[in-house]
């Protein structure tokens, strides 16, 4: 099996300050990797570099494309990268409003992504939108409502539907359950887990919530001050952390 994504020595500087540096890993099809660390550890910077939202100061992000095989997405042409972002890649933002168009209906938010990859038949697009609303547990009669009329949890589910409707192979998620009520988080986690398994998705999830990664991620990368300090199988890193920082992180979680 070939890796879906090969990340080699990614480096991002903010002036003299390190955003992230020396980050390398392979992600295989169907694998879910969690990136954890406290605020300012560089985890979001890394995610945005990988997804092409931030320019890097070195390194490679090689994606196994459907038509051309492994290609470095950092040196891809802009239209090519944008196409990737609409087809095989998806990005779920922490704040749903960053990933949705708030002035367009729920159905339109999902349909828009289909039209961007050539969907033209209105009936098919609408049927697809309704189907996806159902999969993320939003009732069909809300299809014409704008997301601004939705609760935070619903907005997040709509954002996930909008992202997954084109059948991406790699999903980037930035704190996907952050800012939601605990009960809503559980529902979203369950939903994400089901979709990841059914669709065989690979995903990279940035979060500071260790309970979230234990349930969602196969493997873990722990970051501190822009460096990766520890990697491994999720439950091994959480049950038998090797690095001082990971030990501190794990022992700081409140038990419920």
């Amino acid at each position: 099996m070939h890796p879906l994504l090969q990340v080699n020595n990614i480096r991002k500087m903010y002036g003299a300050r390190i955003g992230c540096t020396d980050v390398s890993f392979d992600l295989f099809p169907g694998e879910v990797m969690g990136i954890v660390g406290e605020s300012g550890s560089g985890k979001s910077t890394l995610l945005n570099c990988l997804a092409g939202h931030l320019d890097t100061d070195g390194g490679e992000v090689i994606f196994d494309t459907r038509d051309r095989g492994p290609v470095d997405t950092l040196t891809m042409s802009e239209p090519e990268r944008r196409m990737l972002g609409r087809t095989d890649w998806a990005f779920v933002h922490q704040h749903a409003r960053d990933g949705l168009r708030m002035s367009v209906s729920a159905g339109g938010n999902i349909g828009e992504r289909l039209m961007a990859v050539g969907g033209r038949h209105y009936g098919d697009i609408r049927a697809s939108a309704v189907d996806w609303l159902d999969r993320v547990e939003i009732e069909e009669n809300r299809v014409d409502d704008r997301p601004s009329a939705f609760s935070g949890g619903m907005q997040q589910r709509l954002q996930i539907a909008r992202n997954l409707v084109t059948g991406p192979r790699l999903v980037f998620m930035d704190e996907p359950t952050g800012g939601l009520d605990v009960s809503v988080q559980a529902r979203l986690l369950d939903l994400l887990r089901g979709l990841v398994r059914e669709m065989g998705l690979s995903a990279i999830i940035v979060t500071h919530d260790l309970a979230v990664v234990r349930l969602l991620a196969d493997r873990l990368m722990v970051m501190k001050s822009g460096h990766v300090v520890e990697t491994g199988l999720t439950d091994q890193v959480l049950d038998d952390p090797q690095h001082a920082y990971t030990q501190l992180l794990v022992s700081s979680v409140l038990q419920v």
């Binding site: 986690l189 369950d190 199988l233 091994q236 038998d240 090797q242 501190l248």
Partner: protein
């Protein structure tokens, strides 16, 4: 392919220590020279006083703990050196673990919690749910509870759900951590029956049983883990 005479679980000279970086970097050796092998159809009981390292050895075998040295071969894969995705594949297809605690995603129904290991190896949903239902019935979990999440169940019910989940898929190798603790006589007999059936189909099993009668009924031999205690530094 593994030669047919090879042990399913083959542990060689494994050692383990914990380094507590935030407590003066104290290094605590907890295991040294752990060696044992379990063949298909065999059940080995781990014995030794509380704190002797029985659960530690189980976690090393399952890959939750990182061994400092040695080899832990399960179906030919060395867990000590394997990549995370190889260990996950091993856990899906080869190595099952019935721990003492149920850890599940909230909101998922009991039926699907039990069916999940089957779905993970691409069993069709209806077949997986049928198997889950028959195990839950066998373990006397009332059918009206199947559609609910087990997170709200009593300790005894959660334990039985955990056992049903652990036996849903026919793993060639299994780790059982106190599978009969706190069960009533009827459920205890059911669990011992499940263990017997797993042995009969050729599973290699390592178990921790505080219940001596249960231990004697299913175990073919015993390993005293006190023998793997680290020797004091000279």
């Amino acid at each position: 392919m593994l030669p047919s005479h090879a042990p399913m679980i083959d542990i060689r000279d494994v050692s383990k220590s914990f380094t507590l970086h935030n407590q003066g970097s104290a290094t605590i050796p907890v295991m040294q020279g752990a060696t044992l092998a379990v063949g298909p159809g065999e059940c080995v009981g781990l014995v030794g006083a509380s704190g002797a390292g029985k659960s530690t050895l189980m976690r090393l075998i399952y890959g939750n703990y990182l061994a400092a040295s040695g080899q832990i071969l399960i179906g030919g894969l060395d867990v000590v050196r394997a990549e995370p995705r190889q260990i996950l594949e091993l856990r899906r297809k080869t190595l099952g673990y019935v721990s003492q605690f149920l850890r599940v995603v909230p909101r998922v129904s009991t039926l699907d919690v039990v069916a999940e290991p089957l779905l993970a190896v691409d069993t069709p949903l209806d077949l997986a749910r049928d198997r889950a239902a028959s195990l839950l019935a066998e373990l006397n979990i009332p059918e009206r509870l199947w559609s609910l999440s087990p997170t709200t169940f009593s300790g005894g019910e959660q334990q039985r759900v955990n056992i049903a989940r652990g036996f849903a898929y026919d793993y060639p190798a299994m780790l059982l951590d106190e599978p009969t603790a706190s069960l009533d006589a009827r459920n205890r007999a059911t669990v011992l029956g499940l263990i017997g059936a797993a042995k009969a189909r050729g599973a290699a099993i390592i178990g921790i049983f505080h219940d001596e009668a249960a231990r004697d009924q299913v175990c073919d031999r015993f390993i005293d883990v006190s023998a793997f205690a680290p020797r004091a530094a000279a």
